[in-house]
């Protein structure tokens, strides 16, 4: 999905000089908008991206502001209220087998899962960007070496790489450990995307012009090429963030994710709940639905951004 980003946005520099100076008499003209303003405008007017954003913000508020309102700690265990149904004994969403409050658990889980995503993006984005940029910009042997390496690692399913690595580090069964492992191996497809973007971008006239002006390689990469590849970077980030949440849940389900006795995450709650589908359905449905809503929201945001950067595939053609 992430590779379908088209080149339309790349044809123009991201930020042509913003209109400035004195107010212009506008009778027959329209107000000038920079590329960035246009993109933001397209995004905020697209129903898909905006509904995703609103839902995502609501989930953020639930995870981070919720605990300020609902002051129950998830770690508190109550042996007198084990596996109570929702609404009973003051547990709005029920409790689990050792008497922990599920609502508080969901709030903590959302926090932890977003922490994992943040960690994943912070590690994977620079890595993939760097490798892809070097390979795409310098070409020749740098390209061959880096991309053959990426090809090699991609011959093994990502989930299996993660499992083998995680089985090496029994101490990594926490949100921190899972986030780091996901980040260290999640950049491979980004490197491919950035490389293919750079391969076409580096042939553009403005790069040649920058060369002629004596700009250094690093200046061209950071000031000219990366801003122009920004669209696909942002789209990748959102879609990969959604994938990371699901990957974390899958790893945890298989026993190689957030499985520390005291650790928690949304994936942990979901995979614990799967054992109790019919006996304690609230433990199964609430975490699962929360996770699906978050992933859905992030995916919708990603699609909205993709459409905003590349309006060509939304144009109605007869």
């Amino acid at each position: 999905m992430t590779t379908t980003q088209a080149q339309a946005s790349a044809a123009l520099p991201a930020e042509p000089g913003a209109p400035g100076g004195a107010p212009v008499e506008r009778e027959f003209t329209v107000q000038a908008r920079s590329q960035r303003q246009q993109i933001i405008r397209r995004f905020t007017r697209g129903p898909v991206g905006m509904s995703g954003l609103v839902v995502f913000l609501v989930m953020l508020a639930f995870g981070f502001l919720g605990p300020l309102v609902y002051r129950t700690d998830y770690a508190t265990q109550d042996s007198g209220a084990q596996s109570v149904a929702p609404g009973v004994q003051g547990y709005p969403l029920g409790s689990d087998a050792i008497g922990r409050d599920l609502l508080a658990g969901l709030m903590t889980g959302v926090q932890r899962s977003l922490f994992i995503v943040l960690l994943f993006v912070v590690i994977a984005l620079p890595l993939g960007l760097l490798v892809g940029a070097l390979a795409g910009y310098f070409g020749r042997w740098v390209d061959s070496v880096l991309m053959r390496f990426v090809d090699l690692v991609l011959t093994v399913p990502l989930l299996v790489v993660l499992i083998v690595v995680a089985s090496n580090f029994p101490g990594s069964r926490t949100p921190l450990g899972v986030g780091v492992i996901l980040g260290l191996f999640g950049w491979l497809d980004l490197a491919r995307i950035v490389r293919s973007q750079f391969l076409s971008l580096r042939e553009k006239e403005y790069v040649e012009a920058a060369h002629a002006l004596g700009a250094s390689n690093s200046r061209i990469i950071f000031k000219h090429l990366i801003p122009n590849a920004l669209g696909s970077l942002i789209v990748w980030t959102t879609l990969a963030a959604a994938t990371a949440i699901i990957l974390e849940a899958s790893l945890t389900y298989l026993g190689f994710g957030v499985n520390d006795p005291n650790a928690t995450s949304l994936g942990r709650l979901v995979s614990d709940g799967v054992q109790a589908t019919s006996t304690r359905p609230w433990l199964f449905y609430f975490p699962g639905i929360t996770l699906v809503i978050i992933v859905l929201a992030i995916n919708l945001i990603g699609d909205g951004i993709r459409d905003a950067f590349d309006p060509s595939n939304r144009r109605v053609r007869s």
Partner: protein, 329 residues
């Protein structure tokens, strides 16, 4: 074309060898086949460990170990498990078990993806398009094991209640021991009952992304000039869509599907785990990683890498065959 294929096959062999080396390095650093003896109480004498290391060749140089494994694998000998049985004996049977599920799931997924994608594109922004789009987004957002649990709960429960007996099974790939007493047709029915749910789960989850892809490919084609020309010539709308549109819109999907088949093994791991299938995924997780067994993990990864590389090759060749505009240099 012929030379391109030959060159790609030769390159694939090198990729496989390099990949197996990488995986061997990863596994050799990760797993110690002796680890289960370390925690034994009373701890076996040091001489026992020395002996075992000698026997398994763990004292040898890393490259010698890799060479031994590689030459063995090339002659079809994947080494022995920690329990002393040959790995090569297990692989074909388990491949068949996983293959049953994957082949059927792919067939269903491709068929559904083409139908849903094309209908969505032809009837763009109609209620049916919005409905399928929402459904597809939902499927993309679902974790495999959670979806499978829902299937077990509702579909299996509902269908079995409907028939008043167990038709769909939620555990295993066949009733244990049925091969010993049942006739061929009974075994077939039994396996079919076990097959339905995992296949549906795998098929729906892979279909979701593919149908989005098919939809956008079809939209691209529908907007192209030759479609308008075909209409202008007087062909019926249905004929232009099916003969001129669909044929071209299928090209991108073939490559995506071919690439997807190779990696489906990754998705199948979770599906197998949920439905307790004794296939490749279980072999990797339980017998391989669970037992710290290098040879099992290596055997699994080699098989899966072969699939990935072969289907990458097929994707490249198919792309060129289907679209004559692509030139293979």
């Amino acid at each position: 074309m012929f030379f391109f294929t030959v060159r790609r096959i030769i390159a694939s062999v090198f990729v496989l060898i390099a990949s197996s080396f990488l995986v061997f390095a990863l596994c050799a650093a990760s797993f110690d086949p002796l680890s289960r003896y370390y925690t034994q109480n009373p701890r076996p004498p040091e001489a026992f460990f020395e002996n075992l290391r000698q026997e398994l060749g763990l004292d040898d140089n890393f490259f010698i170990r890799y060479w031994n494994w590689l030459t063995g694998a090339l002659t079809g000998d994947f080494g022995q498990t920690v329990n002393g049985t040959p790995v090569a004996e297990q692989l074909p049977g388990r491949l068949m078990v996983t293959g049953r599920m994957i082949v059927l799931a792919i067939l269903i997924a491709v068929l559904l993806a083409v139908i849903v994608g094309v209908v969505g594109a032809v009837r763009q922004y109609k209620p049916s398009d919005y409905a399928t789009t929402f459904l597809v987004y939902l499927l993309i957002a679902l974790p495999t094991f959670w979806f499978a649990a829902i299937l077990k709960e509702f579909v299996a429960g509902g269908v079995n209640d409907l028939f008043g007996r167990q038709v769909l099974y939620t555990i295993g790939e066949e009733t244990p021991g049925i091969a010993l007493y049942a006739t061929d047709s009974e075994i077939f029915i039994d396996r079919l009952g076990h097959l339905v749910l995992p296949t549906i789960s795998l098929a729906l989850l892979s279909f979701a992304a593919w149908s989005r892809f098919q939809r956008s490919a079809m939209l691209d084609v529908l907007g192209s000039d030759y479609m308008r020309l075909a209409r202008a010539k007087g062909l019926t709308y249905r004929r232009t869509v099916v003969k001129h549109g669909l044929r071209n819109a299928l090209i991108p999907l073939t490559t995506v599907v071919a690439l997807g088949i190779g990696t489906l093994f990754g998705g199948a791991i979770i599906t197998e785990q949920v439905f307790v299938w004794h296939g490749m995924g279980e072999y990797l997780i339980v017998n391989g990683i669970g037992n710290n067994d290098i040879n099992v993990v290596l055997g699994w990864l080699l098989i899966s890498a072969v699939f990935v590389v072969v289907f990458n090759l097929i994707a490249d060749v198919l792309y060129a065959v289907l679209d004559p505009r692509i030139r293979l240099a």
